[in-house]
């Protein structure tokens, strides 16, 4: 496999704000990579840097081996759809869809038409009069139908309801299976998108917090539930990522359990389950580490 995106010491500051700070990572060709993080973590800035829409303050990024800034060789192979994409005032949905094939050489107009039906998008409406969800759907349609070698989708389904979001996941996966490419998907709806992801990059406060294979990451931590005394006995000196306690029942999340550990925990009456990606990331990026509640 070859690297399609390669960032080294990539940094972008806005005055005192370090939106992206000394970030290094490699994304290989042909996978769906989740760029996860909280609002304001630096996801959009990072994607702007990858597509040459913004300029790094320090460090460098290479896409297909080249600097993406003002580089048509890179950009004609790239499609970046962002939540905040602005459209010309006078554009209706159909103007956007008629324009897209000129800019994205692999654009499939038939697929776009089918997606318009699927999402029930009013293409004759002025884009500025569309709801947030409809604008997102428009972006998602362009993003999927463009079939660019490198597709970046930044919060592509803001404002879409659950049904439409699942439609989006289905269509994206379907088309990805038929036409493999590299997709970078940023989202904060981690659990929803988790099944799609081969690879996970978590950005927090402008830095890469986690850079791992999605399956490996899921295996790194487990949640144990049981009587508080049993839990304490089992945990011993292990490092606990999170701890919750309600009355006599406790739940802890611990890292690095081997298969034998899990078997031992089960035999001592504890319930063992793999931690969800969302839980793991919430805990690693500063969400409520321990939480105890005493029953009254």
């Amino acid at each position: 496999m070859t690297a399609i995106i390669e960032a080294t010491g990539l940094t972008r500051r806005f005055g005192d704000v370090h939106a992206v700070e000394d970030v290094s990572f490699v994304i290989e060709e042909g996978a769906i990579c989740g760029l996860l993080g909280r609002n304001g973590a630096g996801k959009t800035t990072l994607m702007n840097l990858v597509t040459g829409q913004d300029f790094p303050s320090a460090g460098k990024v290479r896409v297909l081996g080249e600097d993406p800034v003002e580089n048509a060789r890179v950009l004609t192979r790239t499609c970046f759809i962002k939540e905040s994409q602005s459209y010309p005032d006078a554009y209706r949905g159909r103007h956007v869809l008629a324009t897209a094939p000129h800019f994205f050489p692999h654009f499939d107009a038939d697929l776009a038409r089918r997606l318009v039906d699927d999402f029930d998008l009013p293409v004759d409406r002025m884009v500025k009069k569309m709801s947030r969800g409809q604008r997102s759907a428009l972006g998602a349609i362009v993003g999927i139908a463009s079939r660019a070698e490198l597709t970046l989708l930044d919060e592509p389904y803001a404002g879409l309801d659950a049904v439409a979001r699942h439609l989006f996941y289905d269509r994206l996966l379907e088309d990805y299976a038929a036409h493999p490419r590299t997709i970078v998907l940023s989202t904060h709806l981690i659990d929803e998108a988790a099944d799609l992801l081969d690879r996970v990059l978590v950005i927090h406060g402008g830095r890469i917090e986690i850079d791992a294979d999605a399956d490996e990451l899921r295996g790194t931590a487990s949640t144990l539930v049981g009587r508080a005394a049993d839990i304490e006995a089992f945990v011993g000196t292990r490092e606990v990522i999170a701890r919750e306690r309600i009355g006599g029942i406790a739940s802890v999340t611990v890292e690095g359990l081997t298969a034998e550990d899990k078997a031992r925990a089960a035999s001592s009456g504890l319930e063992v389950s793999p931690v969800s990606l969302q839980q793991l990331i919430v805990r690693r990026t500063g969400g409520a580490p321990t939480h105890e509640e005493v029953a009254r």
């Binding site: 290479r62 905040s84 994409q85 010309p88 324009t99 897209a100």
Partner: protein, 252 residues
């Protein structure tokens, strides 16, 4: 990755097509840039004509022969297109970059689009001025499309005048738009601050010299030459606009 050098892949879309694509993007909905201006212009013309008709009805033969030669309705078009250029920069820059254009392709395509429009408006207005002359000033001895100092000029000069004037104003509009896209409100303060300073310096220079060099330049040279002098100014404005755009990040 070391194999960047020898076999660098070509861009999937050739340069000329990319620039053309951006130009097309401005015309995807031709209503505000191509159709509406002519409708409003003809509307203003009709209104002006009816005012002429009312005046000449009541004034009768006492009317001076050049009474209807100073209509300013056509200048509206130039201001309108300047605003369109400002808006176009603001609305289409982020869109075009979102659709994977480079800033260079974007700027060339935009300049190309407005240059073609300058030709269209120059030729269109010259043709209308021709009709005006053939119809004895729309039957009223009025001049709407070639008023004031254009009244005695040949149609070619009338057309060139509008072409150059249009380019100058669209250039100014694009520069304003570029500064807004790059620096937001601060860009506009800087633009109008610099513009006021230039204006003050210009008035100072004019008053200092008694306006005679300017007056002799304007009266001593044929209109075509005066208008031709706006072209290098427009090109300079366009070049400054490009320098601003090529380092503009996409925000928001």
């Amino acid at each position: 990755m070391t194999a960047v050098d020898a076999a660098r892949p070509e861009a999937l879309i050739p340069t000329r097509t990319r620039v053309l694509n951006v130009a097309r993007l401005h015309a995807a909905n031709p209503w505000p840039t191509v159709i509406l201006p002519w409708i409003v212009l003809l509307g203003v013309h009709a209104l002006t004509w009816s005012i002429w008709a009312i005046i000449s009805h009541y004034a009768g033969p006492s009317l001076e022969p050049d009474a209807f030669r100073y209509a300013g309705g056509v200048s509206w078009l130039v201001i309108y297109m300047m605003i369109i250029a400002i808006q176009a920069m603001n609305a289409t820059f982020r869109f075009a970059l979102g659709f994977a254009s480079t800033r260079r392709d974007y700027y060339l395509g935009t300049v190309g689009f407005f240059s073609v429009m300058a030709v269209v408006y120059g030729v269109g207005l010259a043709l209308l001025a021709g009709v005006e002359r053939l119809t004895d000033g729309w039957g009223m001895d009025g001049s709407f499309y070639a008023p004031a100092y254009l009244y005695d000029e040949p149609l070619v000069v009338v057309g060139f005048h509008f072409f150059a004037l249009y380019l100058l104003f669209v250039g100014l509009g694009s520069l304003t738009g570029a500064m807004f896209v790059r620096w937001k409100a601060m860009g506009l303060y800087a633009f109008f601050g610099a513009f006021s300073l230039l204006l003050v310096a210009f008035i100072w220079w004019g008053t200092d010299t008694g306006w005679s060099p300017l007056a002799s330049f304007l009266t001593g040279n044929p209109l075509a030459v005066v208008m031709a002098w706006t072209l290098p100014v427009t090109v300079a404005i366009g070049a400054i606009g490009f320098l601003i755009i090529r380092r503009t990040p996409v925000r928001g």
